[in-house]
Structures are given as structure tokens and as C-alpha cells.
Amino acid sequence: MPTLTLRRAGLVLCSGFALAVQPFTSPMVSAQDATPFDAIGDDNARTALRTIIADAAARGLPTAPLVTKVREGLAKKATPERIRTATSALADRLALAASALAPARSNDELAAAADALQAGIPVSTLRDMRKLWPGKPLTVPLGVLAEMVQSGVSKTVATRRVRELLVKGATGGQFANLGTDVRNDIASGLAPDAAMELRSKGVMSLLNSQAAGLSNGLVPANVPPRPRNK
């Protein structure tokens, strides 16, 4: 169970040496260190990153997303300072997410919540979602919420609609379905908020001028026309 492992690592770290001096004494952190950190040439940045990750482990946060962030920075040839800044920001978001989603939280859920925070979703929304779904993972609803906001749907509309679906007990597949439909509608030219309202309410589609030509011929079954606003 990752959570137990992390807690154990956290205990080891808290009760051990000063984190900034020897944070890699934890077997888990050492294992994570092996690949990404050696590739960072800047000693200060490397030490800072180890500290960020060890500190996260000590707080019971998942370190895997942080290590992944470091790897992403390395793969994208980012400067050590930029990697440090991005990893630190992610650690802060994970901490906020962990606080908001407590007591139940999985690593995937926290990572999705951190993405939602990056998209501008407030912490209070995460708390509200946890209250609505105390025992079920919010990974997909949070992911779809972030996806909608990044697609241009206003935070207010996206949050309200996702919240309504949570109340009604939508499945992960239904959330993902909603996200796909909204994005297809946006790609077809519908305003993001209108697409979200339409799809989440399940109201009937309205036809645009482009679709009017469809009556003259067959429409391929696998390429349905999409509603548009004018």
C-alpha cells in the first residue's frame, strides 16, 4: 500500500537526520534519487530538489508525481532552476490538495487535484467535492474538471456542472463522456460554457446552418453532426 510506505518513510525521515543534510537516507527516496537526480549538473538545484521531495515524503505526500515532474523537466531540457521551481510548485499544490481531500485520498487523486489547482480551481471546490464524495475517488471528476477549464469553460460553470453530476452519482465513464462531448462541441464552434451547459443538462441539440445541408444526403453514422451556436 503506497500510503503506508510513504508514512513509514516519513517516520524514518522525521526521526532521523536533518532533512536538508541527509534526506536520502530513506531507502525509498534513495531509490527515487537514482535516475533523475544524477542527471542534474547543478549541485544546489539537486540538493534543493532532494529536499523538496524528502520534505513531501515527511508530510505524507506522494513523491512519485514530484519525481515524475523532475523527469519531465530533464526530458524537456529545462534548466535546473526551472525544474526546481516547477517541482516546488507541484509540491505546494499536492500539499493543498492533500489538506482539501483529507481524510481519504489516493496518489492518483492528489495528482489530479494538483492539476485542477494548476488550472485555477480553488481549494474550497476540492473540499466541497470531497464532502460530496467522501468514499469514492475523485480522480476522474477532478481530471475532467481541469480538462473543461483548460478547454475554456468558465470555472463557475464547470464547477457547478461537475458538482451536480457528483450529487447524482455519475460514474467515471459518464464524467469522461461529458468531457469528450463538451470538447467535441467546442471544436465544432460552440461556446465552451454553452457546450458544458448543454451536455451536462442533457438538453436537445440545436442545429446550425452548416447542419442544414445534411437533409439532402446521408450522414456517415460514425461522424455525427455537432450542434453549434451562431
Binding site: R71, E72, A78, I83, L90, A146, A211, P225
Partner: protein, 399 residues
Amino acid sequence: MALLAAPLVAPLRPARAQPLLPQGTLAWLDAGGARVQQPRSALRNAGTMGGGVWHGRSRWSVAAEGAITLADDSLAAAQWVLRTSLAPATRLRTDLDLVSTTNGFAWPGSRSGSRSVAARQSVLLGPVTLHGSAGVGRTDRYLMSTRGHAFALGSDVQRVIGRSVWRLGLSGQRSFTDDWMLMEASGIVLEREVPAYTLDDVSIDLAWRMSRWALSASRSWRQGAGATLGRTNGFSVTASWQLSPALLFMAQGGEQLADVVRGVPQARYTGAALRWNPLRVQGVQRAARGFADARSLSPDVVPELRGDEVVLQRREGRGVLALSIIAAPDAVVEVATSANEWTPVRVAYGPSGFTHVLTLPSGTHKVAVRINGGAWRAPRGLVSVDDEFGGQAGLVVVP
């Protein structure tokens, strides 16, 4: 298009030779498989199992049947049907169907599925049967309730030619529904806001039966009426072979139009099944066309997402992202994802260009591509998010 309240039991002899209902008890068990392609969904393989019991007396009959369909992506559908037939006079027959379809292994009345009732009145005039039918149904899908109803009129002509029995049927149907998901997937749209889609259907079907063999084919045309625009059509071919008195092999294929009463989407399908009749009645058999309807599988699979450079197929626990990066043949194309710890993978150039397929588990993932060592960017078609390193990444959510 399946006609409303189609007769459950197909007499083996012409209707005029057997005006009243057959008598006895008939039981059947079906097992088979099908490949189903619903619009906006991945091609699915499905296994079906079903069975039923029919009991007939001189002037009435009652039947109950059920079928369960399990697809290779773990989606399941169950269908339960209660049917009654009354033959109050030689030339009259009334059929009433109560149908409940559920998504998942759930009993009728569960939240996701459909409930419908349909009635059909037939008048037997020698070799000609005239029939009128009506049905109404409610479908709950994606937390949304939709309703549909339909009226149909038609006639069948049955003739014995040599050792063969031929039947020709023609029918027309007008149906109404507010199920926009079903309609959009069929390419049917509205030109203005109205309470319901209105559809006009015409169907023709031809059936032939001789000895142990039976063949039937049908063709259906659908057109929107009033504010409803769009056309589509369907067809089906069914063959059956009586292997032994108790064993029947059936094969079906075609494209069925969306059933607005039962909330079943338009779908292409091919399937085959074996039917075992532990109890048989002389002169009647369960209509071959009625074997378990794999089309009623839940459309809960997330619709495909298609973009300029991506095709994303998702279902619970698994996502498949097919990338097709547009670049010159001599370009160096790389893909990296959070799912593989951002290890860049060089994409090979093939007959279809630069293509790469990623299988992603449940969760949120980020994907980025770059060409010739340039900036990392989101594949076109995915939501783009800031990667905090000066580039972008595409966001993928797998339920």
C-alpha cells in the same frame, strides 16, 4: 428496423392454415457471439446467453424471456421481456410486449436502462395479415431520462410456392423521441428547438423458408420529419439452419436503425448463435430474428475523441491513444508521457506516417510531442496545459 411487438413465435405453416394460436409449451436456450459497432464507440465483441419459455393455449399465450450480453470491455446488458398474445377470434390477434433492458448485471427498474411497452393488433385475411402497433418507452442513460413512442402500420403476405414458404412484409412507422444522444449518433439533427425528434420509417422485408433452412432480409429507410433533419438507412440478413429437431443455428448481420422506444442505438453487427429447444411444440418455433440483441449493450463506453493528431478510445480502466503526428518523412518525431516517466520515444515513420499507440491506465495523464528537437507541445486534439517548463502537454483523463 425491428417492428414494434414483432410476433414471438413464427408459425411454420401459413397463417391461414392455423388461425388460432398453437398450443403447448416451448422453451429455448441461446448462446452465441456478436461483433457490434455502435456509432462513436469502439468495435466490440460480445457474448450472449438467453432463454425463455412460451406457453400457448387455443386463444392466448404468454412468454417470458431474458438475455444477457457481455462485451469484451466488461460492459454488460440484460434484457427481460414478458409477452402475451390473445386470439379472441379467428382473424384477430393481439400481442402485448413488456420489455425491460438494463445496463450491467442489474434487475429491471435499475437506474440505467430502458423500459418499454408495445402492443400490436393483427387482422388475418387469408394470406394477408394487416397489423397496427404502438409502443412507448423510457430510457435512463448518463443521468438523463428520455422518452420515445412510435406508431406503425403494415402488412404481410405469405404464400406457399412449391415446398417453400415466402413472406413479404411492408410497414411504415412514425416515431418521436427526445433522446438527442441516440439521434445525434445516427446523424439525425434538429433545425430548431422542438419537444422531440420526429422520424418516418419505411421497411420492407422478405423471408423464405424451406425444410431446415430459413433466410430473411430486410431494408429500412429513415427520414426526419418537420424540424427533424437527416436520413439514414439500415438492413439485415438472417439465416438459420435446423441442425436437429432441438438444435438451431442462426447467423445475423446488418445495420439496425436506432430503436427510439427501447433506447437502443444504431449499430452494425454480425453474430451467430445456437439455440437449443428442450421443450418443443409441433409447428412452431421461436422466431430466429429474435435472438439476444447485442445492440442493447450500454453505450457507456466513452465516445471516441478524434483530433488532427489523435484518436482516443477509453473505457473503465483503460485508454488507448493513437497518435498520428504530421511531419515531414525525414523529421525526428518524439513522444513522451507522464505514464512512462517522460522517457522520450522516437516515433518511426511508416506507411501511415508517424504513428504511435499508447495504452494508458485509469487516471490523468499528460502527453507531449516534439519534432526535430523543437518545443514540446500537446498533440493536436488534446486539451493543452502548461507544463511549467515553457512548453505544453496534452491532458488525457482515463475513467
